[in-house]
């Protein structure tokens, strides 16, 4: 990553932005010009500049999701120049800086595209399907009461590390947005394998994978064809091996759970 360059010249850009009034309206691409963009701005700050301009002109600003702006909340979901979160690997949109673009560039900005992620407005999509998948089984049961001793349950370091790697999923939905099948399996597999690896997750181990996969199918996500776009675009590097773990967990739960329905 190039560092901040005090001599970098401000940029003028053409933005092609998806505008859509509401969930049922027909949307379309609208062209905007933004001027004097500092290369040190983040992509979202550049959009802030666009919205300030629009407000001054009395136009409706572009709706886009954002929250923490430091790569952990998973809100800033934009499909930039044909890639989820833009062309840089391992970043969310808020971590993408304008120095990655050149003066005079045209940038196309679209919302995530999936039947299960309907567009609320402009670039903002409804990702509550992910919440419903988590509600279906992405939790553990614990006893309330006194604080347990630290390290009371021994967990081997390599298992703890692998569970943590899966737990870094920020549920941004880039996997769904990048997958040609709009499949949510990388997301679901990260949650399932994280909890399946740890002893705390074993209470609901079988029902979890059965219920989460059922909810995933109900929401209308596609099936995985192992093309690997999801893992390539994942901002936190969730690996495809998690999907193999999900498949394994699913098969073994179906073969051994007491759920006959």
């Amino acid at each position: 990553m190039a560092g901040s360059n005090p001599n970098a010249k401000p940029m003028n850009l053409t933005l092609k932005v998806w505008r859509q009034k509401n969930r049922n309206a027909q949307g379309g691409i609208v062209d905007y010009q933004v001027k004097d963009i500092s290369p040190d701005m983040s992509f979202l700050e550049m959009l802030d500049v666009l919205n300030e301009d629009l407000l001054r002109q009395g136009e409706e600003p572009v709706a886009f999701d954002h929250d923490c702006r430091e790569g952990i909340c998973g809100s800033c979901n934009l499909f930039i120049n044909g890639r989820a979160h833009g062309p840089e690997p391992g970043t969310t949109t808020c971590q993408l800086h304008m120095r990655k673009f050149n003066d005079g560039d045209t940038i196309t900005i679209e919302p995530w595209r999936a039947n299960a992620f309907p567009v609320n407005k402009d670039l903002s999509v409804d990702r509550s399907a992910f919440d419903r998948i988590i509600q279906a089984g992405g939790y553990i049961s614990v006893n309330t009461g006194g604080t347990p001793d630290a390290n009371e349950i021994p967990i081997p370091k390599d298992i703890a590390d692998r569970a943590f790697e899966a737990a870094t999923c920020i549920a941004c939905g880039a996997c769904v947005a990048s997958c040609k099948n709009a499949s949510a399996m990388l997301f679901v597999s990260a949650k399932v394998s994280q909890l399946a690896l740890l002893p705390q997750g074993h209470v609901e181990r079988k029902s979890r994978v059965e219920n989460m996969v059922a909810q995933m199918d109900k929401e209308g996500f596609g099936a995985c064809t192992n093309i690997g776009s999801c893992a390539a675009e994942c901002p936190v590097g969730i690996s495809l091996e998690n999907i193999a773990i999900l498949n394994r967990e699913f098969l073994s739960a179906k073969a051994t759970s007491n759920n006959l329905a």
């Binding site: 092609k16 998806w18 949307g27 691409i29 499909f79 120049n81 044909g82 890639r83 062309p87 196309t108 679209e110 595209r113 999936a114 039947n115 299960a116 990048s178 040609k180 099948n181 709009a182 499949s183 399996m185 996969v213 059922a214 995933m216 199918d217 209308g220 996500f221 596609g222 099936a223 995985c224 064809t225 192992n226 093309i227 690997g228 776009s229 390539a232 675009e233 495809l240 091996e241 999907i243 193999a244 773990i245 999900l246 498949n247 394994r248 967990e249 699913f250 098969l251 179906k254 759920n259 006959l260 329905a261």
Partner: protein
């Protein structure tokens, strides 16, 4: 038993059907290839005709033929149905700019297209040989076996058939380059201990099998 139908109608269950039938069809490719290598025997087809006669009449083979038809049937049906379902999952509004080629390979994204080309090839191939041998009276060779070798000779005089067979094998090659290792991933058999070996074997298998099959029409067209 509703848990069984639920399992195999879920997205993962349907992929498991694709993986299991796909790997089963790979074993069929091996059997088919080993038998067909006798086409290269310099005996004017005597060994090939004997093998063909055996395959057409042995009760065990005839039973496996039913399993094979089921394997093809499930693989083709689920493959096409899943492709349609997956395409619909993206929604009617596609991306205006989509650079998916920067994060995945063309052949991995084109399994349904490649599979459809292989299916077209398969239909013509069945018509050429299986159909004639099973449903028509074919002249017999000196040993009294049906002269399948003569059918092969006649078919591969036609450059259009040669071209179609080679194109069919190229499509199968790319289908297998993704499909072989993808099947293991679907079955949950991914691990750094053995996944590199599965990928290597998958590539080797695909190249050797498809090259050997493609060599047959080329050999007959140019050297027979």
């Amino acid at each position: 038993m509703s848990w069984i139908t639920k399992t195999f109608s879920s997205s993962i269950g349907r992929k498991i059907i694709m993986a299991v039938t796909g790997l089963f069809l790979c074993t069929f490719l091996v059997v088919h290839l080993v038998g067909n290598l006798q086409l290269f025997n310099a005996d004017n087809g005597a060994a090939f005709n004997a093998y063909s006669e055996f395959m057409g009449h042995n009760p065990l083979i005839r039973t496996m033929e039913i399993v094979l038809v089921l394997g093809f049937g499930f693989h083709i049906y689920e493959g096409l149905a899943l492709a349609a379902k997956n395409r619909a999952a993206r929604g009617n509004q596609r991306y205006v700019v989509d650079h998916i080629e920067q994060n995945s390979s063309w052949h991995s994204r084109s399994m349904a297209l490649l599979g459809s080309i292989v299916l077209f090839f398969l239909i013509v191939h069945l018509y050429n040989f299986f159909g004639s041998l099973r449903f028509t009276d074919v002249p017999r060779d000196a040993n009294g076996n049906e002269d399948a070798y003569a059918l092969v000779l006649a078919a591969f005089k036609d450059p259009l058939y040669v071209l179609l067979y080679v194109v069919g094998q190229v499509a199968l090659l790319y289908h297998l380059l993704h499909g072989f290792s993808s099947a293991f991933q679907t079955l949950g058999l991914t691990h750094r201990k053995y996944t590199p070996a599965i990928k290597f074997i998958g590539y080797g298998f695909s190249i050797v099998v498809c090259a050997a099959f493609a060599a047959m029409p080329i050999y007959f067209y140019f050297f027979k």
